[in-house]
């Protein structure tokens, strides 16, 4: 049995979380191979611990449910690493432990190489209703530069398989700006991705992280660092192509058809609450941000010992909280309300073409999205995050 994707209710593009929403993030820190650019918490040599790890996630969830920390989830997100590397029954054993609302969104990040119809059918039957595929590029030489193993053809097969089992609600992850990727290569990738008619696309500018093979190549001078101007052009090209295909931006790096926004991510960006399960998972509950021990071994150890897996936490004071709200909300289409203290700066940025007025607030223009960090820092410096009277600010669904 499959759950039709349309059973997921449309998301609200809002900068405040829906009352009663609660997310669950489950981190699966295993990959078949490490991509050259990736510094996520993931390991390629820990197959022996996978079963214990799944058990530990199950135990962790049971304890939280028993402690009443986890009543009913409105979204579940299996991220990685490569969650699809687990066999489907293992993944579902974890999912089964998560109490969730009838219409909960359940996403699994997949590597196109590690899925087939059988696996996806099992997912769907078990309650998974959204997939996210790491496509990155449709050009073999770009994939090679990124250190990816899959062939572009696998992406088509993976998407066909998803559709075959009724999983219509899916995302394609793309990366632009690798060395040797021409503007035409990027157009081919966009066209190839759009040919699959995805309801959701994430496109990320390749970031050079120091502790990765790519980072070391750049430090050694054998690979040039990603070029800002090249990436800016590619962002503009992507934004136009995606919008032309009916996918509108709702966060700087995310585009979707109306109603296909990722609710779990929206929750994160709206400072909503979520529980973190597994190694290196982050959580946000009751004004506290916390994160788990980083390695799967330590996670398993903690859970076996009956201990909490948390490694650190940060209590957000009202100022930090307000700053964070601004940082997150400004990246979304909902934008931010105009803060009385930052009137002038907001006006300056608007006149310079980085912000555009929107009701009682502002949101980033395309140029502004490309310079979101700078714009954010300027607004913060101008006092735009001083705790102020509650200015609830929502954009009704469907207005774009």
């Amino acid at each position: 049995m499959t759950t039709p994707a349309t059973s997921t209710p449309p998301a609200r593009r809002s900068s405040t979380p829906e009352p009663g929403t609660l997310g669950v993030y489950v981190h699966i820190p295993f990959c078949a191979q490490r991509c050259d650019y990736c510094d996520f918490a993931t390991w390629t040599d820990r197959a022996w611990i996978i079963d214990d790890y799944v058990d530990a996630c199950v135990t962790d969830l049971r304890r939280r449910v028993a402690a009443d920390e986890l009543t009913s989830a409105s979204s579940v997100f299996f991220g990685g690493g490569t969650p699809s590397l687990l066999d489907a029954p293992s993944l579902l054993r974890i999912l089964d432990e998560v109490p969730r609302s009838v219409d909960a969104e359940v996403t699994v990040e997949c590597n196109p190489d590690t899925v087939d119809v059988a696996k996806l059918a099992t997912y769907a039957a078990g309650g998974v209703n959204r997939l996210s595929f790491g496509v990155q590029s449709m050009r073999p030489h770009v994939l090679a530069e990124l250190g990816r193993t899959h062939q572009p053809a696998n992406v088509t097969r993976a998407v066909d398989a998803a559709r075959a089992v009724g999983l219509e609600h899916f995302n394609l992850d793309l990366i632009y700006g690798a060395t040797g990727e021409t503007l035409d290569d990027w157009r081919v990738t966009l066209d190839g991705a759009l040919a699959l008619d995805p309801p959701h696309v994430s496109a990320y500018a390749l970031t050079c992280e120091p502790a990765t093979p790519l980072g070391r190549r750049v430090a050694a001078g054998t690979t040039p660092p990603p070029d800002d101007d090249d990436q800016a052009t590619k962002y503009e090209v992507a934004d136009a192509a995606l919008a032309g295909a009916g996918l509108d931006w709702y966060e700087i790096s995310n585009w979707s058809r109306a109603g296909h926004e990722c609710r779990h991510n929206l929750l994160t960006w709206a400072q909503g609450d979520y529980v973190g399960i597994g190694a290196a998972a982050h959580a946000h509950r009751h004004g506290v941000r916390s994160w788990n021990v980083r390695t799967p071994e330590r996670y398993v150890e903690r859970i076996h010992a009956g201990a909490a897996p948390e490694a650190g936490r940060e209590h957000l004071d009202p100022v930090t909280r307000a700053e964070e709200r601004l940082v997150l909300a400004l990246r979304t289409r909902g934008g931010v309300p105009v803060h009385p203290d930052a009137m002038t700066e907001t006006e300056t940025l608007t006149r310079a073409g980085f912000l555009t007025r929107r009701g009682d607030g502002v949101r980033l223009t395309r140029r502004g999205r490309l310079l979101a960090n700078d714009v954010t820092v300027r607004l913060l410096a101008a006092g735009a995050a001083q705790p102020a009277p509650t200015l609830s600010h929502r954009i009704p669904v469907g207005t774009r």
């Binding site: 790096s253 940082v327 310079l371």
Partner: protein, 594 residues
């Protein structure tokens, strides 16, 4: 101590001819340093000296050789540190003048030899590095006899590396350099020829006693400062500081008198007994600084620390000057004067290392004499203080007399270079068949930046040069301003000869284009001369900053990234609308890669 058994002498030479290495051998021969603690150029104790392989500060030691006490001062050879040499000479009766037997006489050999003669010292001439295969002692000896007038057969031949000939040299020092004269029963007269500040003990001074005796615990009068202090500790460096009960005439040692106020124990001071004062000794005239720059703390609140550090360092190096100034771009700092570019670099590095400061130095410049239309004459040592062109009758710049010693093969290239730098030749003399002495009058400003390097590179390292101040002369000088987005930045202003204005403007705008991070808008960078733009570059507007990838639930990381960016923004210097990182000032004003 029997005064007839004391010898006070300095080691002199051109840079790198082996003074500090010779001092090593002498320390060993006299058994002054434990073999396990011995290291090359033992007396070069500063980190900077060891890193650069040159002596910066003169050092004195007392050694026992046969039945004699040797008071030896190792001096620096570089032209910028000539003041160290002249102060050392005032504490000596003799000098050992080293000449590298492979290189022969070089510019500072001449300069130091003349300085020793002027101070009336007995010179013991030495050919060093005779172990080198390319050494030509006979030819060099002849040259020395002809040029310096030291008879060839009186020259000692040594290797400071192997130690060969060093005992004979010490015997010659004892035999030829006169013993000090001085009356042990006369009132005390001692000369402070060097000082440094120790954070525990206060001022520690190097002294040479001329008359009477300096006794531990005695009440002393510092004549010029007009102050009275008690001798807390006196001692000798052998080379470990060793307290002694007293120092008599002809002895060199150190004196600690609990002085915390550095102004009270300047070099050149005469120390005498409070109860029975002797006459003042000649002392020193501080040399005139030739090169100036602004020194600013990178962090504004280190201004007071910088002032304190300058005061203390000046005790150890009285040849630089400082005066408070303010810059629109850099805030509060000091205009400092130096004897040369290396001196400027060393002072700045010492301030940073020894006093834990981070500094920006503005572009170096010389001092100008400005004749105003109203008849007044002003001295300008800061380009941004230059009056507008309409108020100027005439501007004069300092010239120097530059002496270049070079193999004959390179005379042509050196003449081309000197001419291109507005030089005027005043002398060309063959010292031998293959060696020429060239003397030029050159604007100081033309040689400050890179003249040394160019001379070296055009002669494959074979030429050397020395210079001394000459007169001021009128010149066609202009002020070049640098503007960021239309706003002039005083720290980058400079005064140059009209011919060089374009070049400076191009170099500076180009460098700044690379150093100023892209902003939200285009930033024009212009170099202007009296309102006319002579060079321009543009920092293109930034199109993209970090578009973070999906950060899972890790919101803290993103926020911290922005916090850092916000902090970075706070540390930027705001020039009009343009944000300039402090590092850009440092890098743009750095001297090397020019």
């Amino acid at each position: 101590m029997d005064i007839s058994r004391s010898r006070c002498f300095s080691l002199l030479s051109h840079v790198d001819h082996g003074k500090s290495t010779l001092a090593d051998r002498i320390l060993e021969l006299c058994g002054a340093v434990d073999a396990r603690l011995m290291r090359e150029q033992y007396l070069d104790t500063m980190d900077l000296e060891r890193e650069r392989g040159i002596t910066i500060k003169a050092q004195n030691v007392r050694l026992h050789w046969r039945d004699y006490w040797l008071h030896l001062i190792d001096t620096p050879g570089h032209v910028d540190f000539g003041y160290e040499v002249s102060r050392s000479l005032a504490a000596c009766e003799g000098a050992v003048l080293l000449v590298d037997a492979s290189q022969g006489i070089e510019a500072q050999t001449l300069a130091n030899c003349y300085a020793a003669l002027e101070a009336d010292l007995t010179i013991v001439g030495v050919l060093n590095k005779i172990d080198l295969p390319q050494a030509e002692p006979d030819r060099r000896a002849e040259e020395i006899e002809r040029v310096l007038g030291i008879p060839a057969d009186e020259l000692l031949r040594i290797s400071a590396k192997t130690g060969e000939g060093v005992p004979e040299l010490l015997d010659a020092v004892v035999a030829r350099i006169p013993a000090p004269t001085g009356d042990p029963d006369a009132p005390l007269r001692a000369l402070i020829f060097d000082s440094f500040y120790d954070s525990y003990r206060g001022v520690v001074s190097s002294v040479r006693v001329f008359d009477g005796s300096l006794v531990s615990g005695a009440r002393l009068r510092y004549v010029q400062a007009g102050a009275v202090h008690d001798a807390e500790e006196i001692g000798v460096r052998s080379p470990i500081p060793t307290p002694v009960a007293s120092l008599g005439p002809g002895e060199v040692g150190y004196l600690i008198a609990g002085i915390k106020e550095v102004r009270q124990a300047r070099v050149g001071e005469t120390v005498t007994a409070a109860a029975n004062p002797g006459a003042e000794l000649p002392g020193y005239r501080d040399p005139k600084p030739m090169v100036f720059c602004g020194l600013y703390p990178i962090v504004g609140d280190e201004y007071a620390d910088l002032r304190d550090a300058l005061e203390k360092l000046q005790l150890n190096d009285s040849s630089f000057t400082y005066e408070p100034e303010t810059s629109g771009a850099l805030g509060f700092g000091f205009r400092c004067g130096f004897l040369g570019l290396l001196h400027m670099e060393i002072v700045r590095e010492r301030l940073e290392r020894e006093y834990d400061l981070s500094l920006v130095a503005t572009a170096p410049n010389v001092e100008y004499r400005v004749h105003l239309t109203d008849g007044k004459v002003e001295i300008i040592d800061n380009p941004s203080a230059m009056p507008p062109a309409t108020h100027l009758e005439q501007v004069e710049e300092p010239y120097v007399t530059v002496t270049i010693l070079t193999p004959t093969d390179y005379v042509g290239p050196l003449m081309d270079l000197s001419q291109a730098r507005r030089g005027e030749m005043t002398k060309l003399e063959y010292l031998s068949e293959e060696r020429v002495e060239l003397v030029y009058e050159l604007p100081l400003a033309e040689i400050v930046m890179d003249f040394f390097d160019l001379v070296k590179s055009r002669t494959r390292g074979y030429a050397s040069l020395d210079y001394e101040p000459a007169a001021y002369r009128p010149s066609d000088l202009v002020k070049v301003d640098v503007l960021l987005n239309g706003v002039p930045v005083d720290a980058f202003s400079t005064i140059v000869h009209r011919q060089r204005a374009q070049d400076y403007g191009r170099r500076m705008t180009e460098r700044l284009r690379q150093l100023i991070p892209r902003q939200l808008f285009d930033v024009p960078i212009q170099a202007a001369m009296g309102g006319r733009v002579i060079a321009r570059e543009t920092v293109k507007a930034k199109r993209k900053d970090v578009l973070a990838k999906c950060y899972g639930g890790d919101v803290s990381r993103k926020r911290k990234l922005l916090d850092r960016q916000k902090e970075g923004k706070r540390r930027m210097k705001q020039i009009g609308r343009v944000e300039v990182p402090q590092e850009a000032f440092v890098a743009a004003l750095r001297l090397d890669e020019s």
